[in-house]
């Protein structure tokens, strides 16, 4: 069976309802007539603000029931243009389900259309306003000049107080077709177009990381010249770990007051947003830094590291 979620609220749970067999068949027909109106449930390229974000449809498995054979396991509808939008019809089906939780207020909000983040807003070169349109939802404060976040003693010095960090919001450079698949997260963090798809901390310095832990990869970073304290006109990065599986990096790309960070997931495009779509910057001590953003399985925050170069060579 299919569950529909009206994606519109931020803190409270979104309204959901289960489609009847008749409605499910009609949805399949409507989607089949115009499949281009589907989009992934979450994608970095499609980011939304607070408010109506379309409808999420997912297969809900129950004992003994076959999964839908004609639709993706989960998808979004309503965020792409369509001649006969399935989203409008789908939202209308909520009236048939007494407990859907879709109120007139929500219907009116949905009728105003998709609340999308303008891509230009998620750009450190633009004035920062409102965290890309999203509320800060995490419990942990960002590491900030105002004293938020965890203690800095175990995670590197205070990057906001270095005074001479090197900044370059150059995701576009790393995202050129000739570069994007040939440089990984460590290349982007090091601001080095090394053409090394799998750059590894310590390999350039002769002591490759021996374990995928904060300790193991930190040893590698030090071999590559990264240090714990501020460096003159230097790069500032943060390292996180998917324990025993993988490492990932973020680079500070602008200075105060917004302190934007960027990162590059593997061979995919570099960006300035996290896995929840938050633009990674802050205002007046609130907002996002690598310590409090959505990082998926990369749960271990290892700390901040510095190098007195605008490019740190990696291999």
């Amino acid at each position: 069976m299919l569950e529909v979620e009206l994606d519109i609220l931020s803190g409270m749970p979104n309204p959901t309802w289960i489609l009847s067999g008749e409605h499910e068949r009609e949805l399949v027909d409507r989607i089949a007539a115009d499949p281009a109106q589907l989009s992934p449930a979450a994608t970095a390229e499609e980011q939304f603000s607070l408010g109506y974000r379309g409808l999420l449809v997912r297969t809900v498995k129950t004992d003994g029931e076959q999964r839908s054979l004609t639709l993706p396991q989960e998808f979004r509808v309503g965020s792409r243009p369509a001649t006969e939008p399935a989203a409008e019809w789908l939202l209308g089906t909520a009236e048939s389900y007494r407990d859907s939780g879709v109120t007139d207020v929500l219907r009116e909000a949905a009728a105003e259309g998709i609340a999308r983040i303008d891509n230009l807003v998620v750009d450190p070169a633009q004035p920062a306003t409102g965290f890309g349109g999203r509320e800060q939802q995490d419990n942990e404060d960002p590491d900030t000049p105002n004293g938020g976040g965890e203690g800095v003693s175990t995670r590197g010095a205070t990057w906001w107080a270095c005074g001479s960090n090197y900044f370059s919001a150059n995701a576009d450079l790393f995202n050129r077709p000739e570069n994007v698949t040939r440089n990984n997260c460590y290349c982007f963090a090091s601001n080095h177009l090394a053409g090394v798809r799998y750059a590894l901390p310590g390999k350039r310095g002769g002591r490759p990381a021996t374990s995928i832990t904060c300790g193991g990869c930190t040893d590698g970073l030090r071999a590559d010249g990264w240090q714990d304290g501020c460096q003159t006109n230097g790069l500032t990065i943060a390292m996180v770990i998917w324990p025993n599986v993988d490492y990932h990096f973020y680079r500070l790309v602008t200075g105060g007051p917004n302190w934007w960070w960027g990162h590059k997931p593997g061979g995919t495009p570099a960006k300035y947003t996290d896995d929840c779509g938050h633009a990674i910057y802050q205002e007046n001590g609130t907002g996002y830094a690598p310590n409090n953003i959505c990082r998926g399985n990369y749960t271990n925050f290892c700390g901040y590291f510095y190098q007195n170069n605008s490019t740190a060579l990696v291999a």
Partner: protein
């Protein structure tokens, strides 16, 4: 289409992603499944951390299979298709299960709703 068909599980950021080569019979089966998919006008491939689907390379063609979307890029041509119920994604996972770390298989199966 000629040459080996190599599948990459796109899941890591820093480390090398796991890859494996499809035997000829499986490469043919993959091609048949791919050609049978319905097309769609456009699509957007996500670049989140963690599981990002599969990338299948045969000669100059690069096929990305991710969350119900299939992107085929060959030279300067890019087309999109839909992967109903993520069957092709599941099929690609199955093709590499014997060589993949069981924890990674579990991670991907969780993503696929298994």
């Amino acid at each position: 289409m000629s040459g080996k068909t190599v599948v990459e599980l796109d899941i890591f950021s820093g480390r090398p992603n796991p890859t494996w080569t499809l035997p000829d019979a499986e490469a043919t089966a993959f091609r048949e499944r791919l050609d049978a998919l319905a097309g769609t006008a456009s699509g957007q491939v996500a670049n989140n951390l963690g599981y990002r689907g599969f990338v299948v390379r045969t000669g100059d063609e690069v096929v990305t299979v991710q969350r119900g979307l299939v992107r085929r890029a060959d030279g300067g041509t890019t087309t999109y298709g839909t992967d109903p119920n993520r069957d092709l994604e599941q099929w690609l996972l199955d093709s590499g299960k014997s060589s993949l770390d069981p924890d990674l298989v579990t991670t991907v199966e969780h993503e696929l709703g298994g």
